[in-house]
């Protein structure tokens, strides 16, 4: 058996080098796929080698950011961490992350494995690696053609969680009823994080709100405060299911500003000031999840806050480029809630801007583009005068154009350009000094590649120093 394992490891290592040399793909899942073919239980050889155990992050949105923040905090505290950093979160991607740092004799030396795991892959992955801690971010509607309905996804995750050992720790979002309910369903020791419900952070109720009904008794939930989607301060008038009081809470939140989110993080009578260098409430949730997990692992709060305050987003999640004197923002959008958050972000500020939207329908994007109709593009019309041109590209560019038209965007402002190169050139050659680009999973890489060839990537620290281009 050891021979099989080593063969799998070596061939995967060779594949990794080859894909780097040829420049084809980012090599994040192919080596793993190859290794699994040869040695299906390869992860067993590695799972015992993570000295202090594995922490898994699952849920719909925020997995990559949360796991990178957590890995960053652990590294900041001096631990050695394995992390599937680029978001390759299926079994193959996780195997690849181990192979990448494995020695040729199959040894890995690390303290923690911080793994983001796709919700649908979670039941499979835990067969090979049992986490000591599981963090769940949220459950939103996502790629229904792949996952089936949301209820099914959640019950599969819960079913898998129940198979773990009784001392498994959970870190759960108290503001999402679909996540908070998992504490009662599994009975594991749970630490909750959440945002203090205050009127000033209340968002508009979105069409794609997921759980309007009590997950236990199906009665309609009442909300004192909505934050976004189904997140908020909820209560079931029938059975009494209520948002748990979070152990770690963000208060005095300042999020309606470009580039940063500020908050006071409280736990009991202690509090710390967080200045996260990325925008959006959803990133505050990610930081809260990472902070809570870090504290439960015994890290000093000051160390975690310092690490979060220096967080650098990974490729494609939300990146800034500079082209001539223009500012180009590229963000990944993959489901209605994430898309709505990105649109909310576009509404911040006063600059006029052009938009490029790239929609693909490969397996990783979701083959059904119906979800575009659950995104509230209508909110862009609130600041109609700021959005000049809408350039639609990707395999489903036409569907995007139709969606914008029915949202009420004037047809004269919308164009379809299926070629990425031409679409990006068109977007960059307008009058606006700000260009926002939103792309689905498989569209974000080609867009990023073309963009980085034409413009200069702006690192975050420089971004702060960059003079305002608007």
């Amino acid at each position: 058996m050891i021979f099989r394992f080593l063969l799998a490891l070596w061939l995967a290592k060779i594949a990794m080098v080859m894909s780097k040399l040829t420049g084809k793909g980012r090599g994040s899942s192919l080596p793993g796929m190859l290794a699994l073919r040869i040695c299906p239980d390869i992860l067993k050889h590695y799972s015992s080698q993570t000295g202090r155990g594995a922490i898994m992050i699952t849920g719909t949105n925020g997995k990559t950011t949360t796991s990178n923040m957590l890995a960053g905090a652990l590294e900041h505290a001096g631990y050695k961490v394995i992390n599937n950093r680029e978001g390759a979160n299926l079994l193959t991607g996780i195997v690849t992350s181990f192979i990448k740092i494995s020695s040729f004799t199959g040894k890995v030396s690390c303290d923690y494995a911080v793994l983001e795991v796709d919700e649908a892959a979670f039941p499979v992955v835990i067969k090979w690696i049992q986490p000591r801690m599981v963090t769940i971010t949220n459950f939103f509607r996502d790629q229904l053609d792949r996952y089936g309905e949301l209820d099914t996804t959640i019950s599969k995750v819960v079913g898998a969680l129940k198979k773990l050992s009784a001392d498994t720790q959970l870190v759960l979002n108290s503001d999402d009823p679909l996540v908070a309910k998992i504490a009662a369903e599994t009975g594991y020791q749970t630490t909750y994080y959440g945002i203090r419900p205050a009127a000033e952070i209340s968002g508009r109720a979105s069409y794609s709100r997921e759980a309007k009904f009590c997950p236990f008794c199906s009665e309609a939930l009442t909300y004192a405060v909505y934050i976004y989607s189904q997140l908020g301060d909820y209560k079931c008038p029938n059975c009494g299911f209520t948002r748990p009081v979070p152990d770690i809470e963000a208060a005095s939140v300042r999020h309606r500003q470009a580039k940063t989110v500020g908050a006071v993080i409280r736990s009991g009578s202690s509090e710390w000031r967080l200045e996260l260098p990325v925008q959006g409430l959803y990133n505050l949730y990610n930081a809260l999840a990472a902070f809570t997990a870090s504290i439960k692992l015994g890290l000093k709060p000051e160390v975690v806050i310092a690490s979060l305050n220096r967080y650098l987003p990974v490729t494609g999640r939300m990146e800034t480029f500079k082209y001539k004197n223009k500012k180009v923002i590229l963000a990944l959008v993959k489901n209605p809630t994430g898309f709505n958050q990105a649109l909310d972000g576009l509404l911040v500020g006063d600059e006029e801007q052009d938009l490029l939207i790239a929609i693909n329908d490969n397996d990783a994007d979701g083959r059904d583009v119906s979800w575009l109709w659950d995104v509230d593009f209508e909110i862009l019309l609130e600041r109609q005068e700021r959005f000049k041109r809408f350039i639609c590209t990707g395999q489903r560019a036409e569907d995007m154009a139709v969606r914008l038209k029915y949202a009420g965007v004037s047809v004269a402002q919308i164009s379809i350009e299926k070629d990425y190169n031409l679409a990006i050139q068109a977007a960059l050659s307008g009058e606006c000094q700000v260009i926002s680009m939103l792309a689905t999973y498989t569209a974000v890489w080609p867009v990023e590649k073309i963009l980085s060839g034409m413009s200069e990537r702006v690192k975050f620290s420089e971004d702060h120093g960059m003079s305002s281009v608007s």
Binding site: L144, D145, G148, E149, S208, K212, W373, E398, Y406, I414
Partner: protein, 241 residues
């Protein structure tokens, strides 16, 4: 002229962006200069279907379908009368199944539907998922409808007229080549996408039937449908070549 659109259970039956169907119907009326009122009817809300011009029923998850069956039971007579009087209805996926006689679960249990159409649904062992192209005849004009299906149930329509003939994909059951069902002015389909925005010929046909029911004999103004048509054609080309 004011047109009344009723979106039934928008909070419960709102899977897969189906509200886009309501949006398409509403916008195409507004672009022609007519006033439209959209009524969102939720559990227990009063509605008289005779006063409605267009009724939309979408699909939901299983948990939500159960809540609805009970509420719909109280409305079925009122709805039946309106349908017999040519109410224009579009029912998608779960909403389509709900209008039929029953849904047979994998255990063989028959959950009764509203029985408004002579159709029934049987739980399948695999979900039918993917892009679909359907050839339909609307107002004696042939048109190609495109959309995305994602259903576990297989529907059989007996002698009911289908919405169209499957050219690519599965349709009602993956066996008999039919997709959807039509009865009087009721149109049923498994197609998401959503269906109406990318198939403006169907949307306009529904609008003209709704006007006809109200006694207007109007020729609809042509709209610029170049985006809609290119989205439709792009999918037809991908599926059929």
């Amino acid at each position: 002229m004011k047109i009344t659109v009723c979106h039934l259970y928008p909070d419960l039956l709102n899977l897969y962006g189906d509200r886009g169907n309501v949006l398409a119907f509403v916008q195409r009326c507004r672009w022609r200069g007519w006033q439209v009122e959209v009524m969102e009817v939720n559990l227990g809300d009063p509605v008289n279907f005779a006063d409605v011009d267009f009724l939309f029923i979408g699909g939901g998850s299983d948990r939500e379908q159960n809540l609805i069956a009970a509420d719909m039971g109280k409305r079925v007579e009122n709805l039946n009368r309106a349908i017999e009087n040519k109410l224009v209805v579009l029912a998608i996926c779960g909403g389509y199944q709900l209008l039929g006689k029953y849904y047979r679960t994998p255990e063989g249990k028959e959950i009764p539907g509203l029985g408004l159409l002579d159709i029934y649904t049987v739980a399948g062992d695999t979900r039918l998922i993917g892009n679909v192209a359907v050839e339909a005849e609307l107002d004696s004009k042939k048109t190609m409808l495109v959309g995305f299906e994602n259903h576990g149930g297989k529907t059989f329509i007996n002698d009911t007229m289908p919405l169209g003939k499957v050219v690519s994909g599965n349709g009602n059951n993956g066996v008999d080549g039919t997709e959807g069902a039509r009865y009087k002015n009721v149109f049923c389909s498994y197609l998401h996408g959503p269906l109406l925005p990318k198939n403006p010929a169907l949307t306009d046909y529904l609008i003209s039937l709704a006007l006809e029911r109200r006694g207007y004999d109007l020729e609809l103004t042509e709209l610029d449908d170049s985006f809609e048509e290119s989205a439709n054609k792009a999918m037809v080309k991908r599926l059929i070549g």
